[in-house]
Symmetry: C2
Amino acid sequence: MGRQTAPAESRQLSAGETAEDARTHILDAAEALFENEGYRAASVRAITAKAGVNLAAINYYFGNKEALLEAVCHRRLGPLNEARLRKLKEIRAEARRRGRKVELQPVLRAFMAPALMLKESGGSAAGFPALFGRALADPDDTVQRVIFKMMKPVHQLMLEMMGDALPGVSREEVFWRYQFVIGAMARATRVYKNPGFKGAGLEDPGPEGGVNTLIDRLVSFTLAGAQAAPGMNIKCKKNSAPESK
Amino acid sequence: MGRQTAPAESRQLSAGETAEDARTHILDAAEALFENEGYRAASVRAITAKAGVNLAAINYYFGNKEALLEAVCHRRLGPLNEARLRKLKEIRAEARRRGRKVELQPVLRAFMAPALMLKESGGSAAGFPALFGRALADPDDTVQRVIFKMMKPVHQLMLEMMGDALPGVSREEVFWRYQFVIGAMARATRVYKNPGFKGAGLEDPGPEGGVNTLIDRLVSFTLAGAQAAPGMNIKCKKNSAPESK
DNA sequence: GTCAGTTTTAAACGTTTGTATTAAACGGAG
DNA sequence: CTCCGTTTAATACAAACGTTTAAAACTGAC
């Protein structure tokens, strides 16, 4: 199969690099279509058409469609998760040096901020958070497998550090609070500047500031939520399931 | 493949029963497959096979696949949203009667509890919350359209009442906190008792109690989050986007 | 210019999709 | 029994899917 040497030698073209251009054109087109249509609905025909390459190019460069999804996610999630892990370990190291427990707020921020900052990176990466938010709940098994494989180290470290930051809270409880954090963030990336959510029955959220405003809102919400005293609110009267009339 | 018709029906029961049985068998099969595979991936062939009816039955009874999805959602979301709206209006009425502002906690509970209670209703409705959680982020436009049409009244009332319960908080801010609530709940319904999330890189969350425990966790998390003071946490050092290497 | 290797192209592959068609089987009413 | 509206059944259909193939068009090195 046509696996050839690195593009370092092919730089000698007439302003070319067309060889590596095809790959990135495909990646860009796939990222945009995966974001807007979803993995399953974005056909290889639509992707190659948008990328301006031949139909067979995806199979030639990536093998198959699943490998393309993996490459699309890897391009963004690779450096993104590296940044998350670096920041988290830095926070943990500093807490240990000072002999204090980990603080929750920087942990949440280290998890969420790098992802959302991509939104205003200007480049083609700006669409990735929405793609990722979509992928987090995508029904397709392929998508789930790809996402989980790349997120596993982050998940593990987050669970560990949230546990450290919340002494006395059971592992089970920490697990669920982390899930709520993920859910809130995933929803935010899907809704943020997605025109489909404006006219679809939800009130206009206004000018909604920049990404930093959204990050602050997410952090303050999830921080308070994760630090809340556990379910002392059972005092409420029993809620029954809706009886079918 | 053979015939796999449901046990003990047909001639046995009185007339007219079998006619309605085919419809509900299709609805049940579709609900289960939509939950486990997603709308797009659940083919009409798989649905009809699971329901034990002929391939053409879906088009005969519902017209097309989209109308089937609408019927599946309507069967559950209809009474569910009625229960939500009834409870919310009841809360609002009582607050007005007492001349006090609306309390947030019952509002959140009225929104989330009826949905999650379906999980332990025992019947075929138990799978619907996961379906709904999936649908909330489903990339398919058809799914989004169907869901939003049915959720619109609930969304509007929730935004209004959360606004009442949070005086001094801007509409924009309320909008986002409501989105975070939705995200956390959607994630919870997807993860709860979904075996795919156990071995997929996330630590085992333990016995995890019943649905009531999950509801309490969700309510306490989102209540604290929604009541949190807005973004005073900007003091943190600037987080940069992960530089692509 | 020749040649090996890489990339691009057009066409076809075999499935699978949702839906349409047409005829057969059914069940009470006359 | 016949008749008629309803339901089930087997099959056909056109379109779209991901993937494969084999030949053409390139590329840079000799």
